[in-house]
């Protein structure tokens, strides 16, 4: 098992570097959105011999026109050539509505009605990137997410993309909209890349939000244990995500906790 820590801003790099150099983590997952404007060689110099993976949040590949997407893919391919990431991952979500207005919050697509269009977009994005794309399951907050696991199963078959299984997102969706965690069993038992993070409860509402700002919940640790029970850990990765200025101590403690739970 290769453990990763996520780099969302340059200020957190010293903590990540320390965790990796001390052997608590093995690679750095770069949130490409926040670094893509730089020359990839500059990040390569900073990373030195630290392996990396690429994660994207707002590529908007479901919404961009083909020319814009091809231009973006060309830039990302250059990053891939220079930094040779372990994997490249993205989110299958909508940022804008059909009138091009930014949505109040990221929305899941209409899995039932838009199935073939979504397959085509994933296929297109993957071909433009010229490598396998790993798509993260969403921390559903609305009923649109009810069909997410069924859709993902079909998507993996239809496009050959991979599932970046976010254990905490699956738990959040199970609490928010009653999609059982076990609905993902067939997929997470075969996928190679995982995320896990802390979450919060929305004030005055029965909703969990994927905030990446808290220690892991006990129930998520149980899910982790279950997910890795019969797996050969050799080629698997798991990123422990923190989005705010997490202390080295908290990050390190969480890494130890996860390793302990999955006996790695």
């Amino acid at each position: 098992m290769h453990f990763g820590v996520n780099l969302i801003a340059p200020q957190t790099f010293p903590v990540l570097e320390c965790l990796i150099k001390e052997g608590h983590a093995h690679f750095c997952e770069i949130m490409l959105d926040n670094f893509i404007h730089l020359e990839p060689q500059k990040l390569k110099t900073l990373l030195g011999d630290i392996p990396c993976a690429f994660h994207m949040v707002a590529s908007r590949f479901l919404e961009k026109d083909e020319i814009a997407l091809a231009t973006l893919a060309e830039r990302i391919r250059k990053w891939c050539d220079d930094l040779n990431p372990l994997y490249i991952s993205d989110h299958l979500v909508r940022f804008r509505d059909d009138l091009n207005r930014n949505l109040p919050f990221i929305a899941e697509p209409d899995y039932a009605r838009g199935e073939h269009i979504l397959f085509e977009r994933v296929h297109l994005w993957q071909s433009l990137l010229q490598r396998k794309l790993w798509l993260e399951n969403h921390a559903s907050m609305t009923k649109r997410g009810l069909l997410q696991p069924v859709f993902f199963a079909k998507l993996l078959d239809a496009t050959g993309c991979g599932l970046l299984f976010d254990v905490s997102n699956a738990h959040i969706a199970s609490c928010n909209i009653d999609v059982p965690y076990r609905a993902w069993n067939a997929m997470h038992s075969t996928t190679r890349h995982f995320h896990v993070a802390g979450f919060s409860r929305m004030q005055d509402a029965p909703l969990l939000i994927d905030t990446h700002d808290a220690p892991l919940a006990p129930v998520v640790l149980q899910h982790l244990q279950q997910s890795f029970k019969h797996r050969d850990m050799k080629d698997l990765t798991c990123v422990i995500e923190f989005d705010v200025a997490a202390s080295k101590a908290l990050w390190q403690q969480t890494l130890v906790q996860v390793k302990d739970v999955i006996r790695c």
Binding site: Q11, F35, H37, L38, T45, A58, N102, L103, F105
Partner: protein
């Protein structure tokens, strides 16, 4: 069909809560005035939807313009608060990493800040942060052509680090 209004109407007010956070999170000075933020958001939202605002990076500038026309708010809109709103728009632009990769910076000219312009330069080094800069009146007058109205807001994108172009300013998008 996915519509903004549909997402906004989800149960538990998650749409409005999210918008409230997005709009006010970078406006600590404005929020320190003890306004009823829910009431303000609701009125502004009605205006923004009717005006076909697209809720992109320029939203804080539309909010500034709306506040300046609101009799209940205008007297509390100090120059510092007005600048805070322009800076919030610039920061929002800088966070859309995949949308303007080759842009080096963005400059915004607000009709309510006649003596200056605010800009943001993206970092060019991994360990450096983006930089907000206040530009002198000369920069403003160089960029804002004479034939353009002083009663509108404009922006200009620079593709050369450290250098604002003299031509190419555009009205702030909806």
């Amino acid at each position: 069909m996915l519509k903004f209004e549909e997402v906004l109407s989800h149960p538990n007010n998650i749409g409005e809560r999210s918008l409230k956070h997005q709009l006010f999170f970078r406006l600590p000075l404005f929020c320190s005035q003890n306004f009823n933020l829910d009431e303000i958001l609701s009125s502004f939202l009605s205006y923004a939807l009717a005006s076909q605002v697209t809720f992109n990076w320029s939203l804080p500038i539309h909010f500034l313009n709306w506040c300046m026309l609101e009799p209940k708010l205008v007297h509390n809109m100090s120059p510092n608060i007005q600048e805070e709103m322009v800076k919030a728009a610039l920061i929002q632009w800088s966070l859309m990493g995949f949308e303007s990769i080759d842009a080096a910076g963005l400059l915004v000219i607000s009709k309510y800040l006649p003596d200056c312009a605010w800009g943001l330069w993206k970092s060019r080094e991994v360990m450096a942060a983006h930089r907000l800069v206040k530009c002198a009146p000369q920069t403003r007058s160089r960029i804002l052509p004479n034939h353009l109205s002083a009663y509108e807001d404009y922006y200009i994108v620079s593709y050369t680090p450290g250098q604002w172009p003299s031509v190419g300013s555009q009205p702030i998008p909806l």
